[in-house]
Amino acid sequence: MTNVPADAELERLRGLVGPSEMSYEALQADVIEAERVARAAVTEMGELRGRIVELEGHLARARQDQDFLQRRIEMSAWEGVMYRAQRRWRISVVPRMKRLSD
């Protein structure tokens, strides 16, 4: 909330609520309390939103693991052998050959 003692705004609000200074202070207190409540609600929503974003990451991780395991389970024995050989080639042999060629 802007903390500017604006004389014009003060006069405008006094015009709205009448000459009683107490009424103005009560209105101010209401605004501050309303802001506090709004802020707490927004923050609470943010906590949930943040948790969802984090869980989306966990879900993506679980899905890619599940996809991988599913594909692995569905392989025949021969496909499994081929898969392991290809994987070994890809992650072990190819980098070494590349390093040697560098």
Binding site: M1, V4, A6, G46, G50, G57, D65, F68, S92, R99
Partner: protein, 538 residues
């Protein structure tokens, strides 16, 4: 020339099966060069351990030494170091497991990088049932993060001569001896090298310090001591204590003198509704700074105000900031970079804080915290934690890994992040200029902000310019603002801005040293690539 390796393992009462796995992992290395495994038994009392060590098959590359009495891990490690004969030492805890290709990869790396003195790898965790999980994909060397916590842990290999020059492991640091050694190495060598591959499986058990750090209170206190000693040796005056997160050290640097910080805040008096209440953003941004009285610094507020802005904005600022306010009238078409440059040109402070007008200070003492870090000559820029209106994370440092983004965008604001990455000060590829602090001489030396990027990516360009000039950029969670970006920013990214940033920094943007190639490009949440997330290996 391929170095000879000495693997050092001090043993004290581990689970015998874990020790057996550790020893077997050394025996099954694919490396065909010269290595030795120096095992020092620190007077283990468990019969299973004693019989395992007594029954080991004699091998030319393995030496088992026995201490007459238990002396602690430092004494045992120093014995192992004294007995070592290799060019490079490799630290291996008595219950950890080396990947079969660990030594081979280290050898390849040292061959390709002959001047490398310290090398570390990624690691994952080894569960009680021997399953691997939770891979830890480290960044390249991050000194600030190492000060905050030992993110490296294992696998570490270092030139034996360098470690001997340092005097080996420091007496009295048991439990924090690795962290101490790494910090002393960091003082000695230019950089640590990083192999982004999992070369070690770190056992999670109650007999090692890798269990819950909270249960290792003594070790944690020694972490505090070794970090304090390191900072003292580096001439950094700071209070060091345990942070809220286990294993993380809190470093509160002293601010020298009472420097002036010029807060450069461009504005056109945008209004918006935050938490249900209408505000003029710049008024609340400045008011929140000035309400946080901090005797360690002086503030100078430089508002760069667009022509045509409602006069009530400047009047209000004068009421809020009084003599601390200086106004720069900006009459040209909108250009954030140019506005910042004009503001800094008018600044008199030793430091400049670039601050968006749609912010509000969250954490008391944030500016002094950033100044404390920016005092280091090799730090070029310091960034802060920024939160959206709802408290979720807007900025946890820049990430240039497949995309230009903010790390952990949208996570809970107080989340420590994976491996406590959001709970520690750390180097980043870049930080947002929505709240960034630089020494003014650094800003001027690099030529200020690039006016060819009027609205977007100017902070990316600034960050990369700072790094290209040889400085580190540090992000800290101990400085924090709200950033109501969604409520005030209306400049879609122009193709010319994309072209300009790619023209200038295409190569840099392809490799973020503080991310890791095992992480999925384009993601901001440290999600691993498929097959690299710790699923049961096949």
């Amino acid at each position: 020339m391929t170095p000879r390796f000495s693997i050092l393992t001090s043993v004290f009462n581990p689970d015998p099966s874990h020790l057996d796995a550790c020893l077997a992992s050394v025996a099954s290395q694919t490396f065909t060069g010269v290595f030795e495994h120096v095992v020092v038994d620190d007077a283990s009392s468990l019969p299973g351990v004693r019989s395992l060590l007594n029954g080991l098959e004699p091998l030319p590359w393995r030496r088992v030494l026995r201490r007459p009495a238990n002396g602690g891990v430092v004494a045992a490690s120093n014995d192992a170091l004294s007995a070592a004969t290799g060019d490079v030492i490799v630290l291996l805890d008595h219950d950890d497991v080396l990947a079969p290709e660990a030594l081979a990869r280290l050898a390849e790396f040292f061959d390709a990088t002959p001047d490398a003195e310290v090398v570390y790898s990624d690691h994952d965790l080894l569960r009680w049932d021997d399953r691997l999980y939770s891979p830890v994909y480290n960044p390249d060397f991050s000194l600030e993060r190492l000060r905050n916590h030992n993110y490296i842990t294992h696998l570490v290999a270092a030139r034996r001569s360098v470690v001997l020059d340092l005097g080996g492991f420091t007496v009295g640091t048991d439990g924090a001896q690795d962290h101490d050694l790494l910090l002393r190495l960091a003082e000695r060598v230019d950089t640590f090298h990083h192999i982004p591959e999992i070369l070690l499986h770190w056992r999670q058990s109650t007999t090692s310090f890798s269990g819950d750090p909270e249960t290792n209170n003594t070790a944690f206190e020694r972490e505090v001591d070794v970090v304090a000693a390191h900072l003292g040796r580096c001439g950094i005056d700071a209070d060091v204590s345990k942070a809220a997160n286990p294993g993380v050290v809190r470093i509160e640097r002293s601010v020298h003198g009472k420097p002036t910080v010029s807060v450069v805040i461009p504005t056109r008096g945008t209004r918006g509704r935050i938490w249900g209440v209408e505000r003029i953003f710049v008024h609340d941004a400045v008011a929140s700074l000035l309400a946080d009285v901090d005797d360690r610094i002086r503030l100078e507020i430089i508002a760069v105000i667009d022509s045509g802005t409602d006069p009530v904005v400047e009047r209000g600022l004068r009421q809020i900031a009084g003599d601390a306010l200086r106004v720069v009238d900006y009459t040209d078409p909108f250009n954030f970079s140019d506005k910042i440059n004009r503001g800094v040109a008018d600044a008199t402070g030793e430091y400049v804080l670039l601050l968006n007008d749609d912010t509000e200070l969250v954490r008391s003492g944030s500016i002094a915290e950033m100044v404390g870090i920016a005092q280091s000559e090799d730090v070029g820029m310091v960034g802060a934690k920024l939160l959206f209106e709802d408290g979720t994370l807007q900025h946890g440092g820049h990430l240039y890994h497949g995309t230009i983004s903010h790390a952990f965008l949208g996570w809970q604001g107080d989340h420590p992040g994976p491996h406590r990455i959001l709970a520690v000060e750390r180097e980043c590829a870049g930080v947002t200029a929505a709240a960034a602090l630089l020494r003014r001489e650094v800003f001027n030396r690099i030529g200020g902000m690039n006016i060819d990027l009027p609205a977007n990516y100017n902070d990316v360009d600034l960050s990369l310019t700072v790094r290209a000039a040889g400085y580190r950029i540090v992000w800290t969670p101990y400085a924090s603002w709200y950033h109501f970006e969604q409520k005030s920013f209306d400049h879609p990214i122009a193709q010319s801005e994309i072209d300009e940033i790619e023209r200038r920094w295409g190569d840099y943007l392809g490799h973020d040293p503080y991310s890791n190639p095992n992480l999925a490009p384009g993601r901001t949440d440290w999600l691993e690539l498929p097959l690299r997330s710790g699923a049961t290996p096949l």
